[in-house]
Amino acid sequence: MTQKTKNIAVILTAALWIFGLSLWGIFAPDAETSLSERRRLAQAPKLTAENLVSGKFMSDFEKYSADQFPLRDGFRRIKAYAEYYGFWQLDSNGIYFKDGYASKLEYPLNEAALTNVSNKINYIYDEYIKDGGGKVFLSVIPDKNCFLAPDAGYPCLDSEKMVNTLRESVPFAEYIDIFPTLDISDYYTTDTHWRQEKIIDTARTLAEAMGAEIGGEYTEKALDAPFYGVYSGQSALPLKGESLIYLESPAINGMTAYNFETDAYGGVYDFDAASGTDPYEIFLSGPRSLMTVENPAAKDKGELIIFRDSFGSSIAPLLAEGYSKVTLVDIRYLASARLGQFVDFDGADVLFLYSTLVLNNGEVMQ
């Protein structure tokens, strides 16, 4: 080969790459969603004079062209490999791996977010609970970073400070410490959430502290398809699928869940959602603003209202064994000021159960 041949090779290589991907991108049909990232992809922007002059067309087109780029997942994977194995970076897009677990960096402690959460809890207490006669409980769920980060030198938020700050700001709530009931093996390796079959002790601790009694005999059932958690897609690496297990018992099987958003009744496990983009939504259909679970087998006729995030969806069926009715409220999607229209607080116990992840991003609480 001569220098000229090498020059031709350089030009052809670059031209084939650039022109090839360009034509592929232009002619390939656009995708609606990204399964790996669990989000809708940007679509081609409308070309109007107004959009052009304002520059909106251009900014939308930039998002569109990146979102609809051919083999995008493959390219994201190349990037992840470059970061982890080429540049030896300790995280990629904030996701890191330790002891076989994927986790996402969450730091520093966001005091403004925490203040918003405590303001909301105080508002809810003053507005709905104070005169209702029920007891109020608070519990905080540690996220995976609490177990993985400190020893491995990854930055993480000060969960102890977070809990203390929150406890001090809601003195009317009795705090239930569930940290000792959990360790890293209680969580999915590829997902942010805990495993339902590993939190029976946690549920029991909560129930006992609230004066409820729950059963202890469950049958483990697994979804047929392997479960790839949220970090599988976000990390863009080929992580090994896991088995998503849910618990059955006569009481759980007899429970009825009502979804206020869809005005539909069903069981506590949503098998349609289990085959969707996020199989963890099997638990009470995932992030929903308002749900109720009725347990006809309950010995106690008490009611419990849980203010929760997605961690609460998987523990709620276990806690519901001790109550005739459990109401699950997610104030990320339902404004606190509107709660009175939908929820009867009279005589019900209330549990504020949030993960450190959601608390640290608590600006989203309405």
Partner: protein
């Protein structure tokens, strides 16, 4: 539009290349002009008007200056008018609020700010038009009769936004007639891809480290040093990567743009650093400000004034803020001190000279990046343990560990070592054969990985846009 983006790489670039090489020679400048205006309007549709106005005034005054070349007063008048329009536009867009703010601060008044958004690349194309009309006035260049050709020169997208500052005389002949060869296109392709990788894989990633430092509530002396070093490497890779892409694209379209960087971090003095850093800006100020003021062939006080003027302007060119002015004057002081007192000593010890230069350049970029003069002194003080910060913090250790390889690659990549290694390998028979395969493969790898970063929508600002 930025070079390191999907719309540029996979939509704009293939289109402009295809059209450019399909049309006959006579239309190539028109194609470049049309695509360049589209490229500019993509980012700032409104400000394309500023650019067209700048081109028109440069064209008209260029012709007038040439027509009245023999009539000194008229020539000076038209040259002065052209410069006034160019500089006036730049001052209005870039410096008006700075002057109002300082006027308000001095007088206690509260004149409202104009809130003008800086047109992208205005500092670069203003200097190009200035050099054109001044060179026509000096008789160094003939006025361009074809407005499309002059428009293609000013608006040419490869160097439009962040340089290098290409003077008209650099490419006047190529604007009229230029050759396209396999060798030149291959050279341009290599240079472009290397520049892209420098920008996307190194500069953008270090920008994330810099942002993490700025957002951190866990700062320490170590973290400030990690930031300062990362920022120095980042700004070099960001700016030189862009220049590489510009020079490479220029070659693909048949132009030879001037070099803008020559491994500035291997310099042994501030004087040498500025001979290697942003060379087209340095030589512009030398030829159009410093030498006309008398350069160094004047009395010492006058020479000091010349130096201060040039470095004040160099700093001010970078931004309408006292931090940039201080940054320029910092180099003025350094260069004067070197020339008057200790440059000869520096030249005796390469090692100490490097340490000296690296220290001062790192400090200078800390000043350059500071949001205010107060913050600049705080950051510089923190470098030397004066900020009351702990020596080490958890985040500092984490980010140092996470970015160590990138920093090492960046530091080594800012020296001629990689180039020398490639040249050495290419000399031997076997090495030559390996490079025949390895070079296209390496370029492909750089393209693929850079595309991966862009498709994932990673952090991607161009630092020199604001200039």
């Amino acid at each position: 539009m930025v070079f390191s983006s999907i719309p540029f790489l996979y939509w704009f670039l293939p289109t402009v290349i295809a059209v450019y090489f399909i049309v006959p020679r006579a239309l190539k400048n028109a194609v470049l002009l049309v695509f360049s205006l589209g490229f500019y309007a993509w980012g700032e549709p409104r400000f394309a008007v500023f650019m067209i106005a700048a081109i028109v005034q440069g064209y008209v005054f260029g012709l007038l200056i040439e027509k009245y070349r023999e009539k000194k007063r008229l020539k000076a008048l038209f040259t002065g008018l052209s410069c006034a329009v160019s500089i006036g536009l730049l001052v209005y867009c870039k410096y008006a609020d700075f002057f109002i703010k300082n006027f308000n601060a001095v007088t206690g008044l509260s004149l409202p700010l104009l809130g003008i958004v800086l047109p992208i690349g205005i500092s670069f194309y203003t200097f190009q038009i200035l050099s054109y009309t001044i060179d026509v006035s000096r008789g160094n260049a003939a006025a361009q009769k074809n407005p499309i050709t002059l428009g293609a020169y000013v608006a040419m997208f490869p160097q439009l936004i962040a340089g290098p500052i290409v003077r008209y005389t650099d490419i006047a002949a190529q604007l009229d007639r230029r050759s396209h060869s396999v060798e030149k296109i291959a050279l341009g392709t290599r240079r472009f891809v290397i520049g892209l990788a420098k920008k996307v894989l190194i500069a953008n990633q270090l920008a994330e480290l810099i942002n993490a430092f700025k957002a951190s509530g866990d700062k320490s002396v170590l973290f400030v040093w990690v930031y300062a070093i990362a920022y120095s490497v980042h700004i070099y890779f960001d700016f030189s990567g862009y220049s590489d892409m510009a020079i490479g694209l220029g070659k693909i379209f048949g132009f030879d743009f001037p070099e803008n960087f020559n491994y500035p971090f291997i310099s042994k003095s501030g004087t040498e650093f500025w001979r290697r850093w942003h060379m087209t800006l340095g030589s512009w100020f030398r030829d159009y400000v410093y030498i006309p003021m008398g350069g160094n062939r004047v009395s010492k006080p006058r020479w000091l004034l010349n130096i201060l003027t040039v470095w004040f302007l160099t700093g001010f060119w970078h931004g309408a803020d006292w931090t940039f002015i201080l940054w320029g004057l910092f180099f003025a002081a350094l260069l004067v001190a070197e020339k008057l007192w200790y440059l000869k000593y520096l030249e005796k010890s390469k090692f100490l000279a490097h340490i000296y230069k690296i220290l001062f350049v790192t400090v200078s970029f800390t000043l350059f990046d500071a949001p205010s003069v107060g913050e600049a002194f705080k950051s510089i003080g923190s470098l030397f343990g004066l900020g009351g910060l702990p020596l080490v913090s958890g985040e500092a250790v984490y980010f140092l560990r996470s970015y160590a390889v990138l920093l090492i690659i960046g530091i080594i990549g800012s020296t001629p070592l990689p180039k020398r290694i490639v040249e050495k390998i290419s000399q031997g028979g076997a090495g030559k054969k390996i490079m025949m395969i390895a070079e296209p493969a390496a370029l492909l790898l750089m393209l693929a990985v850079s595309t991966g970063y862009l498709a994932d929508g990673s952090f991607n600002p161009f630092l020199y846009f604001r200039f």
